[in-house]
Every structure is written in C-alpha cells, then in structure tokens.
C-alpha cells in the first residue's frame, strides 16, 4: 500500500478510503498504531513517529523507525512545521492537540496539503479515540467504586451468616487484597486469650503471627506506610513489602486481629502508593469483619458450651450408675456418705463392699480431671475394684491390682488418689492404704483425733509403685471420716479455702451425732462457707463409725 514519494497525492475521498482500509486492517493493534500505519501508507514517508501525552508529558508512543531519529521539537509546534526533510503535524480536534505526528521523507510539494488533511482527519480520529479511552477509564472507575460498595454490602451479608472462622477470614482477606489492588496480604485473628485463632497470607507473610499481638496499631483507623521497606509501620518492621496498609480489627477496644495488605499494583508492573481512599476502604472492611468475627466467636462459644453440657450430662449419667444407690447394712457399723458433684460431674468415687466374715471394704477415690474422661476412668476403677476385690489377699495387693488394671485398660493417662479401708467390725481392726489421698480423720470416742496420712503414691501415676498397709484399731464409738479435697479446698467469695482445720473442727464438734446427720451438717457447713460461689471440685464425704 506504500506509495512512492513522487506519486501525486490522492484526493481527500481517496485518502479517506485509504485510511478506512488501513484502520480496518489489523484490528489487534491499537488505533494509534493503525493511524501511523495509515499515515505512512498514504504519505509514502520513510519513517513516522506519533507522540501522545501521558501525564502532561509528550512521549513517543508509536514509531516506525528503529533508530528513533525523529524527535519532537521543543516546544511542540502548534501548527504544521517542516523541519528539514521532516514534517511535524499537530493532530488537533475540538481545539485540543491530541498528538504530534512526525513524518520523515515526504516530498516538500506535498507537505502543505498533507499537513492540512492529516491534521484534520487523523486529529479527529485520535481525539475520538482519546475521548473513548477516557470514557472507558471513567466507566471502569465508576464500576470499580460500585464494586467496592457492593463488596462492602456483600461482605456484611455474607459475614453475618458466616460462622466458620476460616471461611470468614478468607473472605475478609481476599476481598481486602482484591479491592485495594494489593499484591499480597496477611490476616491474623486471635481468640479471647490472645492465642492465634486464624492466620492466612496471600503471597509472602507480611508479619509473623506470633509478633502481631505486639503490633501497636491504633484502634479504628488504617495506617498507611508507603515507605514500609525502609521504615517500620506503627512500630512493626514488615518483611517482604515496599508499601503497606494495615488496620487493627477490634470490638469494644478488644483486639480481635490485624489485617494488612501490601504493594498496590499498577498496570505497568510497578508498585503504587496506597491512598486515603484505600485506607478508608480497609477500615470499613475491618469494621464489618470485627462484627462478623465476634458473632462467629460467640456462636462457637455457644456451641462449645452446649457440647460441654452434653458431655457433662453423659458423664453425670455414668457417675450416677457407679455410685452406690444405698449403703449396706453391716452389723456393728454405722455408715453415711454424701457426694456433691460441683460441675454436674467430676472424678470423685466412693464405694462400699460387704465381704466375708462380716468385714467391710470401703473406698474413696478422686480422679484427676473432669468431664467424660474422668467419668470413664472412674468407671474403669469401679470395674477394677469389683473384679479384683475377691482375689486380692491384702489391701496393698488390691491397690496394686487396680493400678495394673488401669495401666492396661484405661483409655486416658490420668491418675487418682484413693483411700481403701478394710474393717473387721468384730475386732475393730482397720487395714488401709492411702494412695496419695488427703489424710482421713480418725476421731476417737475418747476424744482424740488422728490423721491417717498417705502411705504411697497416687494410683496410675508412676511406674513400679509401692504402697504400705497401715493398721489401726477402731474402738466402739470411734469414727472414721474419709473425704476428697473438694471439701477442704472449697472456697468462699474471697477465694479463702475451707481447709483441713475447719473440717476437723466441723466433724469434732458433731462427733456425737448420728453418722447420717453428721454427714449432712458437715456438707451443709461447707456449702454455707462457700456462700453459693461456684466450686471447682467434687465434694465427697464417707463416715464409718464402729458401734
């Protein structure tokens, strides 16, 4: 399509046809390129360059020459300017210059007509193109703002119904990065205790999760640091980023997490500064996220509470089946027992075993832990005692057998303290082992009180344990009180413990009462002391009196 410079210039109709054909061909090229190609084709120029304005600076946007020999004169000409063998044509439309076309190697006789026609036609086309581009950019900008608003609205809706913290965190992080055009981002959320609940990064991690808690971000507003590579952001040195925007996620002054995005992208691959509009958007996101995260957390807490309650109910049912429904009637002995599980269920267990020759075996045990695991261990101990009691020749052997049974069958690694006593009512001989248990109280009818201290380690705690059997004689009227630490460690509103001394006095003062009433009154005194304060351990008391 290129004409030789010596051929006569075509008329305007022909020029328009030529231009139209050129502009239609190669639609994958942008319009400015096609304009230059058409200008070269029509004018027969050896080379051409088109300068376009980018941010108030004229830059060579399209050039046909590899050497870049055509350079726009300074100042740019306001009307066609022949310059040696070159011709500079300002492409103007509607009183505005949209580009400068430089043509090298056009014949001087053609220049005036060429300049006039090109300035008009190419100027109009370039102006229309520029206007179209501006409209597109403005449309894109409007749509982007609409997207931001819609995203905030959607975020509120979806977060309000989103109770899964991980899904919620992803939603917040991805939308924040997307709408700020950031290249990367990090979101860290904490639980009430400050423990990291969720951490997610897109791209490189901006800050390690374990350092986030000490990040001194202000409440409610985003912090822009467009020099994050060189200077800390709100006191925190960030890795792997040049520019950063960060916000604290808080509810009522309580920090729930931190959201940070970094390195805002530009179309040419560079990194742009974050703006006040970006900061405002991220703050809005953080506010929406805070409300949603708090809702999800409360929901999770409610589910957890419900789960614990169900578990405790199950454990309580197990325990109810294990504790004796009624106390045995043993000639020569008066018995009483009480058990108050403090949180529906716990790890206390007591049992009584009428044995041959009128003897009584009795046990008070306290398992470490709470809930279903403790209840299952109590169940295992209950099974072990009932299986082994007939085969064991001594109290020590029985405790050792229980220990072995637990090691073999217990599903959890827990231990228990226990007091096991074997009492012959005829002689008053009491043989006992206290495996790390609280001292039982032996109240003599004559007036003294003896503490029966531990004779070995708790069951299930150590390998190769040993226990010592102790023997006492209970005279008629003597009373043995075996209890768990839930009684002595019961606390009042000032966190003061009931204590062993107070328990001893409570029993001593009532030593003349029938065992059942004595048991009720001592338990009542502990309850009075606690004044309704929630207690953290079960309370068990077993009384054995030789009559």
């Amino acid at each position: 399509m290129t004409r030789t410079p010596t051929a006569p210039p075509p008329g305007r109709a022909e020029l328009w046809k030529l231009l139209s054909e050129s502009l239609r061909s190669g639609p994958e090229h942008p319009l400015p390129r096609r304009l230059v190609d058409a200008a070269v084709a029509w004018s027969g120029a050896r080379e051409a360059v088109l300068y376009l304005r980018e941010r108030d600076v004229w830059l060579p946007a399209i050039t046909t020459a590899e050497t870049g020999g055509l350079v726009l004169p300074e100042p740019p000409p306001q009307r066609p300017l022949p310059s040696g063998t070159a011709l500079w044509i300002p492409l103007e439309a509607e009183g505005e210059v949209h580009g400068h076309l430089g043509l090298e190697g056009v014949g001087s006789e053609d220049q005036e007509d060429l300049a006039s026609v090109m300035a008009t036609i190419l100027g109009s086309l370039l102006g229309a193109h520029r206007l179209s581009r501006l409209v597109k950019e403005a449309e894109f900008e409007v749509k982007t703002r609409l997207l931001e608003l819609e995203s905030l609205y959607d975020l509120g809706l979806s977060l309000g119904g989103q109770l899964d913290i991980a899904a919620l965190g992803d939603e917040v992080l991805f939308r924040s990065i997307s709408l700020t055009d950031a290249g990367k981002g990090t979101l860290v959320l904490f639980d009430e205790g400050g423990k990291v609940l969720f951490e997610r990064s897109l791209g490189e991690e901006l800050v390690a999760a374990d350092r986030v808690a000490s990040w001194n971000l202000p409440e409610g507003e985003s912090v822009i640091n467009n020099a994050a590579a060189a200077a800390p952001t709100a006191g925190m040195r960030l890795s792997a980023c040049q520019k950063c925007l960060a916000v604290a996620i808080s509810v009522g002054g309580r920090r729930l997490g931190v959201l940070a995005v970094a390195d805002k992208e530009s179309r040419d691959g560079g990194v742009l500064d974050f703006t006040a509009a970006d900061a405002r958007l991220l703050s809005l996101f953080a506010n929406q996220a805070a409300a949603a995260i708090e809702t999800a957390r409360l929901h999770r807490a409610a589910i957890e509470k419900e789960r614990i309650e169900r578990e405790l109910e199950l454990a309580a049912a197990i325990q109810r089946e294990i504790l004796p429904r009624a106390l045995p009637q043993i000639a020569g002995l008066e018995l009483a027992a009480a058990n108050f599980p403090t949180r529906q269920v716990g790890g206390d267990y007591y049992d009584l075993f009428p044995l041959s020759r009128g003897r009584l075996g009795f046990l008070v045990a306290d398992v470490s832990g709470k809930g279903v695991p403790a209840a299952l261990l109590v169940s295992t101990v209950h099974a072990a005692v009932h299986l082994q009691i007939d085969d064991a020749r001594t109290v020590v052997e029985l405790v050792a057998r229980i220990d072995r049974h637990l090691r073999r069958y217990a599903a959890t690694r827990k231990f228990l303290t226990l007091f096991f006593g074997l009492l012959e009512p005829d002689t008053g001989t009491l043989r006992y082992v206290s495996a790390g248990h609280n001292p039982a109280l032996l109240l003599r009818a004559s007036g003294g009180l003896e503490r029966l201290d531990s004779t070995g380690v708790p069951v299930g705690m150590l390998p190769n344990p040993t226990w010592r059997e102790e023997i006492r004689t209970m005279e008629p009227g003597d009373l043995l009180a075996v209890y768990t630490d839930g009684l002595t460690e019961a606390v009042d509103e000032g966190d003061l413990e009931f204590g062993l001394a107070r328990l001893e006095r409570a029993v001593e003062e009532r030593r003349g009462l029938p065992a059942a009433r004595l048991c009720d009154e001592v338990m009542g005194q502990v309850a009075d002391f606690a004044r309704g304060m929630p207690q953290y351990d079960d309370q068990t008391l077993l009384l054995v009196r030789r009559t």
Partner: protein
C-alpha cells in the same frame, strides 16, 4: 494459594481452555493474555477461562481480561468463563465482562455453549 497465577491450556479442536490457578492480578492477567493471544494466533476460535482454582481477582486483572475480550471480539471469536466463585461472578457482572462473555457454572456447559455459538457471536449468558 500461591501468589503467582499458573495457567494451563487444553486445546479441543478450535476451542482453547485456559485453567487458572491463583490470583488474577497484573502478573496473572498478563499470563492469561499471553496464553490467550498465542491460542488465537494458533487458530483458536473460542476461549474458555476456567477459574475453578482462582479465588481472587483485582481491577488490573479485570482490565487485562477486558483487553483479552476486546481482542477476541475483534477476531470474531468467542470468550466464555466458567466455575467462578460467587464473588468473582458478581465482580465480572459489575465490571461489564459478563456483557460480552458468557459465564457458565461448569466447564461442560461452557464447552457445549461455545460449540453452538457461531463465529463472531458471544455465547449467551445462561
């Protein structure tokens, strides 16, 4: 999800399917454009962008996708998207991509639709 967007391409006759995996940002968008133009130059009539493994796209990624769409339309080809997350689906609709490129819930539906679409006509949005 890694930072860099990976693109894999599958060709079925004159339909090229571009599977994206990762963030469609400047880098991801450029990579999509590069692969898309290569497929168009190699005779592909229709492009399907399967975004199953993409959960995030930014405005620069969108502007590059619009350029790809314009190039496809100039060539009288067809562009379709499939398996978008609800967020990206809405984003594309707001930003105008869905006006000239149909969005399908599955790759099968996209394939059927572009096979039925004559050259130069955008597959209709379902």
């Amino acid at each position: 999800m890694s930072e860099a967007c990976k693109i894999t391409v599958e060709r079925r006759n004159d339909v090229a399917i571009l599977f994206t995996d990762g963030y469609i940002n400047n880098q991801g968008g450029e990579e999509i454009a590069r692969q898309a133009y290569a497929q168009l130059d190699a005779g592909a009539r229709a492009l399907i962008l399967d975004l199953e493994k993409t959960r995030i796209v930014n405005s620069i990624g969108i502007s590059i996708l619009i350029e790809v769409l314009e190039r496809v339309m100039d060539r009288k080809g067809v562009l379709a998207f499939c398996r978008l997350t609800p967020t990206i689906d809405k984003t594309f609709r707001i930003m105008g991509l869905a006006q000239y490129a149909a969005i399908y819930p599955s790759l099968d539906e996209a394939l059927k639709a572009v096979a039925a679409a004559p050259r130069g006509e955008a597959a209709r949005n379902p």
